[in-house]
């Protein structure tokens, strides 16, 4: 029984504030700025108290995965905070359109809003044409801006993670990160955001000037379901915890996920023997993006930092471990990332997932045996996240993995 839900109209662009959940702290600041530049009044949600989880529990079926619960809980908590004019607020949520439950988050959110906030429109952020709204349209310039935001975000995330554990002056890496964010924010408003080479250089210079000790800490890779992997709210500040424990976190970039989504269209065509507009377009887009990304990686390496994985390497790794046909949720990408991390010296891997995540039964827990067969030194720990899993339980398992690292180092 379909109910008429509020639509985000063209008029609302000027009247409404759009709330978005903060999935990736570094990237989303930029993405939000890009959207602001394009005329949308957006705000990143930062509320993270226990009330977020409680609201989630109240409003979502409890067997639904944790990311849905948190994102919807964060929205509901924000709406109830009294900080927003409820007649002039809209929400935005991503929608992947794949075979996993995640494509349904938007509908779960609408159900949650139904009773109390029927007037609040929800915008689907998707590139798969699952749904659209009059008031929110991707323009070419916005898409370019967003792409750039992903490039810069991945760059800063990689550099920050490589500097933070070794900085001699405490807090310097954070300062540099803030400085780069400010520089980019300024460029978004005043022009020059698209000058990638110049901006890369600025960021790379800034980070390489940070005084650092020898890079000798054990590296710990973080892979997993995309929200839990990146969001500190969901993974209980996993990166901070690893830093505190004397490790260097290695977090694969967001571009991996984008390329994964794009190449899956191409893969489908190859696997099932067809070609259409979508497969052709995706193939072209893939080629362009990977070329742009390789340029970035090359620059990173020129500065003596570790570059991000080459996506073609990931695909090769995937072919050896699983099939690229496994494309629901983060699919083969998780398995491939585990393999690539292990093969490039990051044998310690935390695999984050929402409790009971369906695709991860296959690609994470289901494949860790195969990854270990290929890389016997791989030290993989799977951590489940859910509303009631406690920090103690998770940290204890992480501590075990870390103790193993130290042990392996001695041998």
């Amino acid at each position: 029984m379909e109910k008429q839900h509020a639509k985000f109209t063209k008029e609302m662009r000027s009247t409404h504030k759009i709330l978005i959940p903060d999935m990736l702290p570094i990237h989303l600041k930029l993405l939000a700025a890009v959207m602001r530049k394009n005329g949308y009044n957006v705000e990143l949600l930062q509320n993270s108290s226990r009330a977020v989880i409680d609201e989630g529990l109240k409003n979502v079926h409890n067997d639904t995965c944790y990311p849905a619960l948190l994102v919807i809980g964060q929205f509901m908590d924000a709406l109830k905070s009294g900080n927003y004019d409820l007649d002039k607020t809209a929400l935005m949520i991503t929608q992947t359109g794949g075979g996993c439950r995640a494509s349904n988050y938007i509908h779960l959110l609408r159900k949650a809003l139904e009773a109390e906030y029927p007037q609040i429109p929800v915008i689907s952020f998707n590139f798969s044409n699952t749904e659209s709204s009059d008031g929110f349209k991707f323009t070419l310039s916005m898409v370019f801006g967003m792409l750039n935001a992903v490039f810069y975000g991945d760059l800063m995330m990689a550099l920050y993670n490589q500097c933070k554990p070794y900085e001699k002056n405490e807090g310097e890496s954070d300062k540099v990160l803030d400085d780069c964010q400010a520089m980019l924010a300024d460029k978004i408003v005043n022009g020059g955001f698209g000058k990638r080479n110049k901006n890369y250089k600025y960021i790379l210079n800034a980070f390489s000037k940070i005084e650092r000790t020898e890079r000798n800490k054990p590296r710990v890779g973080i892979v997993g379901e995309i929200y839990v992997k990146y969001s500190p709210l969901a993974n209980n500040n996993l990166e901070k915890f690893l830093l505190k424990e004397g490790c260097e976190p290695v977090v694969p970039g967001l571009m991996d996920y984008l390329l994964y989504c794009i190449i899956n269209n191409v893969n489908d065509g190859k696997l099932y023997g067809f070609k259409n507009k979508m497969t052709r377009l995706s193939a072209i887009l893939y080629k362009i993006l990977i070329k742009m990304y390789r340029k970035l990686v090359k620059r990173v390496e020129q500065y003596g930092f570790n570059g991000m994985h080459d996506f073609e390497e990931l695909r090769k790794e995937a072919d050896e471990l699983i099939n690229q046909g496994v494309k629901m949720g983060e699919g083969w990408l998780i398995t491939a990332e585990m393999g690539c991390l292990a093969s490039s010296g990051t044998e310690n891997i935390v695999c984050t997932q929402p409790f009971g995540c369906l695709p991860n039964h296959i690609v994470a827990k289901g494949m860790s045996r195969r990854v270990k067969e290929k890389y016997p030194d791989a030290n993989i720990v799977a951590i489940d996240y859910d509303p009631s899993a406690t920090n103690v339980n998770q940290e204890n398992r992480l501590k075990l993995m870390i103790a193993n690292i130290k042990d392996n180092a001695k041998l």
Partner: protein
């Protein structure tokens, strides 16, 4: 002197070990900390410092030690790691170590590729599990051990989850299994969970160390491990030091990694340890004593009038509630006054308990009082009804509803929290509209509070009273009871008081009920007139938390624990014909019975039947799903579509090739329940011989269990492992099992995916079953919507057997025909069954699920239960083509699920059809479909019934739901 100290702070105990300069153990101590972690540690250390003066290296380990260490800035070592250090020092030749703790289970493989494993989020197979089971049997841990040593046989018990185990154990007890046998089965379940769940395919062999409290104290557990792993005394080592083993490892770690501290420094550090402020608290339950008094005053009003049975003269009405663990009896006077009530444990023998009480009653009543009608409800309904000739039997929900009505004529919601169960009923238009029961991940009930009180050293009533005036009750979360254990641990670590924890636990039970069982978005959804009952609500802290959470006042009848029996008595009064059939005083004197347990061989469900033979020659059979076991003829049993579908799939395998190219194995699991005819025909056309795997049983699951990497995946997927092994045993040349991201597009849905598990399970099987290789497992990625592509992929994957593209094309075309024929046959059979039902005016149940819910091991014979209740059963795919897909609030993106939506839309328009949805535990996708299907049905005034099933199934609960559905239809 210089010493090294290791301190191990676990969930319930503190252990310390002191090493001398030459690493000898000179002191060890083991005490319970009763959640006063810091105090207990300090006490132990102070004793040590007195005894051994000097300088100390120190290190802390253990799950509760983590917080203490970071707050005090003393060195920490993870407990599994400290175990491995200890093993290296003391047992350098050990190959493997198994450690069971309070809430953790760990395996350390030490030789041949070191590896450590810890249990995931589900805590089956740990000390907490054993405690939980001991509580269920009402014995202490030691008694459980002592009982188990006297066992003669063992039963299979699910160990993954305490709730599942309970569902296995309760029927065993009710059927008269001996306590020793059940106890031994519990320990065996722990072993199975460790061997299968934790080791996941790796063999536990060589010299094996067994560590941790449970393995040190429980001899029966030790024996079970030795037996299962086939270890002799030389290879199974149970170290004397076991309880303090981690503390020893921690001391070893300290000796190498810690700085020296003076005793003042250590004491200072621990005393001044800054508590992390991780505790989230909520408002006190009561601010003042006066508030509490007013609360008590208000609730005291919900009382019943009583009359003295010793002086009353006239007619009386008897109500009996035979629950799974307790029996309640109520006697009412003509003017509805309570004459007599009785509440007792039944020890699995309700018949004995009630007949005994009835004798007493007859003696008291003499000729003054005459019972003119009687009614019985609860699990033991049938048994008591026929055994004691009680007039009426009614379903529990109706009994509770009847009782609640007398306290609150406008009642629109009833919630009953007992020791082990939570039951909730929604009332609409004076009828029961919706029933909710607690399940695996929403298990927190009354016994949970009791277990905790005991663990913390308090009797339960005193413990819960502590919470009433707690200043800062802690927030403990609401998923599984074991998660709550960890939350309590964390709160303790963060310095929460017993009072705060007590209030927190009461509130957790309530939140679990509201948000997990009822799944209310807001309190308004429950209703305005709520009656609460069940023993747990006699606890004021729970009642107060409930009212707080809802923000309204509720009614707690003074006879909260007797409501079922009270309702039954009222029902008897209403239906009374003036004379009761109840067993007379005379008959009661000669009353006796014999009980025997037999396994029904009528079909594959193999129901365990309990046969009672009464002294007057009457017989009663219970425990049956269908009526076959009762000696009914096949023709008298109502038909259902399941038998037809199953037989179509398995009995009609076509093999016409005299000299087959090879033998292909098709596993009877997951997607094959929809596609078997298609692949059989394709392979037959291609010149192969088809062999399918045998019908699933519990053994199928156990057979493949050691290769299952994810404990929380659904049961249908877990069964796939056993089917593959079964096919290989049958000597097939290869197993064919394609991966299918997409299912067939049946039109009008947003997309047509398979769920991730159905789509890619072959990939998981290949990666985790070492018996599979490139030759014997063929699993191409195909999209059935592209027949040409399917043909060419088939030709490629079967090239080895000489299959050409041309052959493949022809075979695939025939395959699609076969698939369509199968789907048509289901629809035809559905039509016939609908006609059959309508001719006889019988209600029709649409059992909606996935194709693989046809598996008898997955559906547990639910359809037979439905038939026995007088409904004709069809499945969702029989009617899903009769209507257009409904407009949905969600993305309609999976083929199998789309069928359910369509079926629901069709049922909504049919007066005599009722939909019952089967949901496999752990199915994340059904978190979305269930709400949507409920919506479709309720919009059209239909009742939605959901049955959750897993490796075990609580048939009692299922029966209640189905009977309530029938009661509501009437």
């Amino acid at each position: 002197m210089k010493y090294s100290i290791g301190v191990d702070v676990g969930s319930t105990t503190v252990k310390s070990v002191v090493l001398s300069e030459d690493y000898e153990i000179i002191y060890s101590v083991y005490t319970r900390h009763f959640s006063k972690v810091r105090e207990a540690v300090l006490e132990q250390l102070k004793k040590i410092f007195e005894k051994y003066e000097g300088e100390y290296k120190i290190s802390i380990t253990g799950s509760a030690g983590l917080g203490l260490s970071s707050a005090s800035e003393l060195p920490f070592v993870q407990e599994v790691y400290s175990a491995s250090l200890a093993i290296k020092n003391l047992y350098p030749d050990a190959d493997c170590a198994v450690e069971l703790g309070g809430e953790d289970a760990k395996i350390l493989f030490l030789t041949g590729g070191t590896e450590q494993r810890m249990n995931g989020s589900c805590a089956g197979g740990t000390g907490a599990f054993i405690d939980q089971m001991a509580t269920l049997l009402k014995v202490s841990g030691d008694e459980l051990d002592w009982l188990a040593l006297k066992a003669e046989k063992k039963y299979p018990i699910a160990s993954r989850c305490g709730v599942f185990a309970k569902s296995d154990i309760q029927p065993l007890l009710n059927q008269g299994a001996s306590l020793p046998d059940v106890s031994a089965s519990i320990f065996q379940a722990v072993v199975d969970q460790t061997v299968a769940g934790l080791a996941q395919g790796r063999k536990i062999e060589g010299k094996v160390l067994f560590l941790g409290g449970p393995l040190h104290f429980y001899k029966a557990l030790q024996n079970a491990f030795k037996e299962t792993l086939q270890l002799d005394d030389e290879h199974a080592v149970f170290p004397e030091l076991a309880p303090c083993f981690m503390a020893y490892g921690s001391a070893v770690y300290a000796s190498k990694n810690s700085d020296f501290y003076s005793h003042e420094e250590i004491i200072n550090k621990i005393e001044n340890a800054k508590q992390a402020s991780g505790v989230i608290s909520f408002n006190p339950l009561f601010d003042t004593e006066d508030e509490y008094e007013a609360f008590l005053e208000r609730h005291s009003k919900a009382d019943v009038e009583r009359a003295d049975i010793a002086s009353y003269e006239g007619n009386a009405y008897l109500g009996v509630d035979a629950g799974s663990t307790t029996t309640k009896i109520v006697l009412l006077s003509e003017d509805r006054k309570l004459l007599f009530s009785h509440y007792t444990e039944n020890s699995g023998k309700p018949l004995d308990v009630v007949s005994l009480k009835l004798r007493e009653l007859y003696d008291i009543m003499g000729d003054r009082i005459k019972i003119v009608a009687s009614a019985v409800t609860g699990y033991g309904e049938e048994l008591l009804k026929s055994g004691l000739k009680i007039d009426f039997g009614i379903v529990e929900t109706v009994a509770h509803f009847t009782a609640a009505l007398s306290f609150c004529p406008d009642v629109d919601f009833i919630i009953d929290i007992g020791g082990q169960d939570i039951k909730c009923f929604k009332i609409k238009n004076k009828a029961i509209d919706n029933i909710m029961l607690n399940e695996a991940c929403s298990s927190g009930c009354g016994s949970f509070i009791q277990t905790f009180a005991n663990a913390l050293g308090y009797p339960v009533d005193k413990f819960s009273k502590l919470g009433l005036f707690a200043k800062n009750p802690v927030e403990l979360g609401s998923r599984c009871t074991v998660f709550m254990n960890s939350a309590v641990k964390q709160a303790q670590k963060d310095g929460a008081s017993i009072e705060d924890i007590s209030a927190g636990i009461s509130s957790s039970v309530v939140k679990n009920a509201i948000y997990k069982v009822i799944r209310a978005k807001s309190p308004d959804e429950l209703g305005k007139h709520i009656v609460v009952q069940g023993g747990t609500f006699l606890n004021d802290a729970v009642l107060r938390s409930f009212e707080r959470e809802l923000g309204i006042n509720v009614i707690r009848p003074s006879i909260s624990g007797l409501m079922g029996a009270y309702g039954a008595a009222l029902y008897a009064m209403k239906k009374s014909k003036g004379v009761s059939t109840l067993i007379t005083k005379q008959e009661l004197e000669d009353f006796s019975y014999k009980s025997a347990t037999v396994t029904c061989k009528g079909c594959t469900a193999h129901c365990s039947l309990n046969v009672l033979t009464f002294a007057d020659g009457r017989r009663l059979v219970s425990g049956n799903r269908c009526e076959k076991g009762l000696g009914k003829k096949e023709s008298e049993i109502l038909p259902d579509i399941f038998a037809f579908k199953y037989s179509y799939l398995t009995d009609n395998i076509i093999n016409t090739n005299e000299n087959p190219r090879a033998t292909v194995g098709l596993p009877l699991c997951l997607g094959y329940y929809d596609q078997m005819p298609m692949w059989n025909v394709i392979f037959n056309e291609l010149g192969f011989k088809t062999v399918i795997s045998d019908m699933s049983t519990r053994k199928t699951f156990v057979y493949g269990q050691h290769t299952i990497p994810s404990d929380t995946v659904c049961y249908p997927a877990k069964l796939a492992h056993g089917h593959i092994l079964n096919l290989l045993d049958k000597g097939v040349d290869f197993v064919f099992y394609p991966c299918e991201s997409y299912n067939i597009d049946e039109g009008d849905s947003d997309n047509h995916y398979n769920c991730p598990v159905v789509a890619y399970y072959p990939e998981l099987l290949k990666a985790n079953m070492s018996v599979l290789n490139e030759d014997n497992f063929i699993y191409p990625y195909i999209d059935l919507n592209r027949p040409d592509n399917v043909s060419s992929l088939l030709a490629i994957s079967l090239a080895k057997y000489g299959v050409t593209l041309k052959e493949a094309k022809r075979a695939v075309a025939k395959g699609y025909e076969a698939l369509e024929k199968y789907h048509k046959a289901i629809e035809e059979n559905g039509k016939e069954l609908i006609e059959y039902a309508r001719e006889r005016n019988l209600p029709i149940a649409v059992l909606a699920g996935r194709p693989y819910h046809l598996d008898p091991e997955i559906n547990h014979g639910v359809q037979k239960l439905i038939s026995a209740l007088g409904m004709v059963t069809i499945s969702e795919d029989a009617i899903s083509n009769l209507t257009k897909p409904p407009k949905l609030n969600v993305l309609n993106q999976w083929t199998f699920h789309s069928r359910m939506y369509r079926a629901a839309a069709y049922v909504a328009e049919q007066k005599d059809m009722h939909l019952v949805q089967l949901v496999s535990f752990g199915c994340g996708i059904d978190a979305i479909t269930t709400d949507e299907i409920r919506d479709i049905l309720e919009k059209n005034g239909k009742i939605y019934t959901q049955l959750k099933i897993d490796e075990i199934s609580n048939l009692g609960a299922i029966k209640i739901r189905l009977r309530s559905l029938l009661a509501a239809i009437e």
